[in-house]
Amino acid sequence: MIDLGRQVLDQQLVDRNDLNMGKVDGIALELREGRPARVAAILTGGHLLSRRLHPRIERWVRKLTRGLAPSRVQPLRIPWPQVKKIGIDVKVDFAAADAMPWEHWVRDRIVRRIPGA
């Protein structure tokens, strides 16, 4: 038996190459007619974090980042079967490189432009 809030939510997500790819920002539970509910997916990114802080903070962050491409990206959904291990962190069968719009945006728009990067 695992405690979803304590052991999964807000844990570090690690991809198949042991790279950090954010935190578990949300967990989707699927309610089914006549059958027990099951854990459907892990969610990360998007505006999930700011929404959890406060709806007003989410609105403010959206306004601030409007027009920037990563702001429009939906949270990444990792289906539960792709979760490989829950321990110190949550290892998923995924490639971080496909999953971090803000990291790539900062790298390409800002870091690349600074000499010596």
């Binding site: 038996m1 939510l9 539970l29 699927e30 007619e33 099951r38 854990v39 969610l43």
Partner: protein, 110 residues
């Protein structure tokens, strides 16, 4: 037919009886593997009230525990099926379950 609700929306929500009486707060949700899936089995409820929320942190500190501040904080575990999530922002006990929960709670001396 199925629909999705989100754990982070449930945590911290007050659970009420069908009649609207507040019973406790959702502290956590527990799941266990069944074949390829993880099935949601139990809900962990904590007491209501400001003291309960403050003490949830204090309960962790042995120093404060020693001076008795942690005694106010308890959790109880109820089966997932006892709750109705048709409105995820207002989880409530299904018909008849609230009484069973209370009785169980009284038996345990809580």
């Amino acid at each position: 037919m199925s629909r999705e609700i989100y754990l982070e929306d449930l945590l911290g929500r007050v659970v009420r009886t069908a009649a609207g009486r507040p019973v406790g707060r959702i502290e956590d949700v527990r799941a266990e593997p069944d074949g390829d899936e993880y099935l949601v089995r139990e809900v962990v409820l904590s007491d209501l009230g400001i003291r309960a929320r403050l003490f949830s942190m204090a309960a962790q500190l042995p120093t404060l525990k020693a001076i008795g501040l942690a005694r106010r904080y308890r959790t109880r575990i109820i089966p997932w099926e006892w709750l109705d999530f048709s409105d995820p922002s207002r989880p409530q006990f299904r018909e008849g379950q609230a009484r069973e929960e209370r009785e169980r709670g009284e038996q345990a001396g809580g």
